[in-house]
Structure formats: structure tokens, C-alpha cells
Symmetry: C3
Subunit: 250 residues, 3 copies
Amino acid sequence: MEYISRTDQDGISRVVIRRGKVNAFNDNLIDEMSRTFGELALDPSVRSIVLTGTGKFFSFGFDIPQFLGYDRERFTRYLANFTRLYRDIFLHPKPVVAMLNGHTIAGACMIATSCDYRLMVPGKARISLNEINFGSSVFAGSVEMLKRLVGPRMAENVLYSGAMYTAEEALRMGLVDRVASEENLEEETMKVAREYAARDPDAFRSIKGLLRRAVAERMEKTERDSIEEFVRIWYSEKTWARLQGKTIHG
Amino acid sequence: MEYISRTDQDGISRVVIRRGKVNAFNDNLIDEMSRTFGELALDPSVRSIVLTGTGKFFSFGFDIPQFLGYDRERFTRYLANFTRLYRDIFLHPKPVVAMLNGHTIAGACMIATSCDYRLMVPGKARISLNEINFGSSVFAGSVEMLKRLVGPRMAENVLYSGAMYTAEEALRMGLVDRVASEENLEEETMKVAREYAARDPDAFRSIKGLLRRAVAERMEKTERDSIEEFVRIWYSEKTWARLQGKTIHG
Amino acid sequence: MEYISRTDQDGISRVVIRRGKVNAFNDNLIDEMSRTFGELALDPSVRSIVLTGTGKFFSFGFDIPQFLGYDRERFTRYLANFTRLYRDIFLHPKPVVAMLNGHTIAGACMIATSCDYRLMVPGKARISLNEINFGSSVFAGSVEMLKRLVGPRMAENVLYSGAMYTAEEALRMGLVDRVASEENLEEETMKVAREYAARDPDAFRSIKGLLRRAVAERMEKTERDSIEEFVRIWYSEKTWARLQGKTIHG
């Protein structure tokens, strides 16, 4: 593992994303996350999982500069893997707590919404699904997960505005579940993770399935078409120009 | 066009319902609205749409006196056209902002819920789905659109009570998105319309589809049966008597 | 009828659960409730229904000591009947008001969520879906009904924590609709029941179907699988041990 570290203690596994300054998602990182969550699902010693980033970023989302070198086919393959990852976390048999230590943007926000609980630091950190601002669409599954948290009407505001929300704003909307200062984030997160770890694992998995399986099936059914549309818009002349602009100035 | 006026400026199209004092919906008005929204969908110069009424009424809903002269078949045909109109607006590729300048009752409230954003004047204006008060049912699609805005539990209160809500009450429930005084309504509406107009059109249309297509499919699948049931109850002896009472006193 | 009493007055039928101190659900009680609600559906003199318990309990839920003597097949049959009962109430053609006079636990909370309106006494009474605390799962339909009232995210909190909520907490979450003191419970409940009774019965039934039929179909489709999973976990070694512990200490 190059970009993911995993450390287990007292039945709680901590998964940390470590890729450069902004933890941008690329093929390798997504593969490593998928493998890690697959192993965690099968490890009977793990009772709950904490997913977090490093420094000022949970993650900035997709590694756009790298993807500008991809052709459609390769990018489509990446997107299929990425959306499969958030579906796998969404239906993961173990509880997954997202410790949002910093900015949680675009694809990173999608991963956060797939978890069971979200804690976020106040201050300069922002959470956002800002795809529309560079002329990009999103994915069917990400919309379903967002709607569950903030309701269908607020989901429209989030996606149409592409607004960058503070932790407090996100809490009011239901996009995160708790705000915890940088000093307390660790402790508060572990408290939540320990509460989840205390649940009966079979009952938890069964109830989580009842709560989420129907949504996950709807996600899966529409995901492929939405990826196709996403790719079509991504490679459109004007969106492509904006993405290159982001790279040069970003 | 006899009952609909359309004026475009700076990429924003303004559609005004003008039919008598209360803008009651009949065959011709619904046909004109359908044609207008169809043309707007295809016009590349249009980036967003404002839909509004005149005087003290956005619209009072169905033109009941006229419909009392209809037989079942003709009324059923009208209802199929009416429900198709709100589904077309619900999935319209352009953003549609409802400027609720006054009373927004029954069928008119259904049209309002199909838009992307609702501003409403305070004061004497009311918004309501009051069908139950004259012993009438509603339509499957209208229920789905209402549930998205106010949640399934509150939707029951709205439909079972038939209550007439002020703009402020509607705002608290999520049935409208903003209250704007008569003097500011125009300006605030145009601000919202301009914000929508600034979005990338392809990204907007794609995201709107992801947010609404599954609901729209559910609406379409159940609409025909619900129209049949609506018609059966509408022509029942006691509801018919109440509708005639409304006509005489209304 | 041994455990259910029914008294009708002015179009309002009052159904009281009377089984021991805690009104625990067993085969006979569920059969009697099913028969009673079936008769109420067909009785044209009944315009609305009040469902309540006795003493300090609406109901404590399943009669676990009795079910510990059941084999899987018999228990599965009971669960099929129990889940059919809450679906029947959920889609009952008449309005059903739950008068929660006291503790409303587990299966009893499921019955409460199937009604149209819930009033609950403050003080020591608690409402809870606490199945996870003894290592048990719940049922697909019960999850759908809960999600409608409190939203999908809060439904996770309710089911993962197994928390015991006061009436005030339940009101804030949307799990009940009104808190009424012991002295006022009767009067406030009757006021709600009379309001429902004043609605046009055909319009009410039609609108209730539009609001709930799609959910009920989803419930029915997944219920059988969820009962199978429930039974598997119920008879697992560790859950069985906890259930027996409850019996000894309870």
C-alpha cells in the first residue's frame, strides 16, 4: 500500500488516506481503498472503521491533472471503480465513521456520504459537491446518497449551487453529523467508533442492509448510464477547457 | 396564444398566465402552457424560465364550472394533459422558477411543486392542496412532488387537512423556498433566475435528471390509475353535489 | 375477543389492547387485532379509529418468554402474521390514531408507526426500537415506516442506538405527532379522531393510497426475506442467550 495506511486497535481499524498534500483520488489510491475495505469486511477482529485524511485535507477529490491525460475508455474504467468503491462502503458490513479532518471536496464528499457517520472540523475546511462549477455532472449513486442525508429539495440546492459549506452549515443541513474542534476531533471520533463497535455485529449488518439495500440497488441500476453521461459532458469542448484552466491555475 | 404571454430578455424567459381574474386552468390554457414549455426546451437562447400569474392569483386551479359541462371521457383527456404538463415541467431541461404572485390553489399548487424554485408573496395569498374539502382526490404525480418538498409525513397533513397556508407557513414546511414582499418579488425572482441562468446548461440538465428522473418514472407509472380513481370520485353523487355548490356560491 | 375490546361512538371506534400488565404481543392478540381491523375496514358506520393500550403500557412488544418455547416454523408464522397486521393498518381505508398511553417498545413501536397519527404521554413513558440491544434485527417494512416519519438518516440513529426516547424527544424527531399530558390525552386524541372522521371517506382512502401504496408494495416485496434473516439471527447462539437472560431477569 502506497497511499493508504491501516492501523487496528481494540477492534477499531483506522484507515488514513495519504497522497501528496491534497489526497487527490487516482487509480492507485482507489484500488488501495477498495482492497482495504474488502479486507476489513472479512476480518472478524474489526468491529468498526475510521476513515480519515491528513493535514488540511480529507481529500480534494479527483486528481484532475492526471485524468486529463486519460482517454475516455480509461477514465470510464476509473469511474466504474470509483463508484463501486462508494457503493461498497455504503453497504459495508462494518460501521464506517468518516473523520473529516479538512477539505472534503467533490468525489471526496461522495465517499463521505457513503459512510455511517461524519464528524468535521470547523474553521477553514469546506465540504462541497462543486462539480457544476466546472461544467461537470455527478453520478446517480452520489445523488441518492446525498438525498438520504439532506432530503431531495436541499440536495438540489447543494448540487445546483456547487456551494462550499463550513462544518456548521453542513451540520444544519444534515450533510455531517457532528462538528468537532481540531483538538477534540480524534477523541470524539473514537467515542463514536467505540459506540458502533459495541453493537452486535450480525444485528448491525442486518439492520444496515434493511436501511440501505434498496437504495444501493437503485444506485447500481442507474450508475452505468450516469457514468456514460458524465464522460460525455467531461470531454465536451467547454468543460474540457475549464478543467485545463483548473490545472494551470490550481 | 390567448392565455399565455412569453417575453424573453437576457436568456431569461418570462411566462405569464392570464385568464380572467383567477387564471383558472382549462383545456386551452393547459395546451398553451404545454406548447410554450415545449418550445422553451428547444430554444438555445433560453437559460432559465420564470412562471407567474396576474393580479391576486397565480392561479385558482381547475375551472370547475367549465368542467361540470364535461363528460367523463373529455375530463379524463384533460386530466391526462394536465398531469403530463406538470411532469414535463418537473423534468424540463431548463430551470423553472415559480413566482407565486398570489393565491396558488389545488392544480396550481401542483404546477408550483413541479418547478425548481418557488418564491411567494406574504399577506392574504394562500397556497393549498384543498381537494379533500370538496370530496375530491388528487393525482399520484402530485403526491410524489409534494413529498419531495415537505417529506412524506407532512404531505399527509397537507392533503388530509386541505389547509390554506400563508407564504410564511409554506416556507417553514418547505412548500415554498422564499417569501418576498410584493415590492421585492420581481427583483428577488430575477436574482434567482439569473443564478440558475449562470449554470452550465448541460451539467444542469444532467444533474436535474439524476435528481428527478426516478421520481418522474414512478409518477408516470401510477398516473393513469390515479386519474381513473380521481374521475370515479369526481363524478360520485356527493362530490358532484359539492362541486355544483362551489359553482353556485363561488 | 380475549385481549382486544372495541367500543364505537359517533363514528369513532376505540380499540383497546388489554393483555396482562404490559400488553405483550402473542399469536392470539395479533389474530384478534387483525380480525378487528378487518371488520373495521368493512363497517360503513366507522369513520375513524383510535388504537390504545392500558395502564403504563401501550405495549411492551413481543411476548419473548412465550416465543422462547416456539420452534422456527411457528415463530416464522407468527412474524408473517405480525408484519401483515402492520401493513394492513398502514394501508387501512379508515384513519387510525395511535393514543400512546405509555411505553411503546419494539414491535409496539412498529404498530404505532403504521398508524396515521400518534399522540404520546410525557413523563416516564418511552418509545423505542431497541431490538439491536438484545442482538436482534428488525423487519423490512418496519424500517420503511420509520424512514417515512423521521427520515433515512435519523432512522439509522434510532435503529443503531436502540435508544429509549421520551415523548418530547420523539416529537422533535417526528416519531410522534403530539405530546399530551395524561389528563388531556383522551380529549386531544378524540379531537384528532373527530377531525379525521369529518373527511370525505372516499377522498381520504384514495389519497391515503396515493401516499402509501408504493411504500407498502416495497414493504411486502422485501418482508419475507427480512423475516428469514430475523429468524436466523434470533435463533443464533448469542442472541438466544440474551433473550433467555431477558426472560430470567425481566
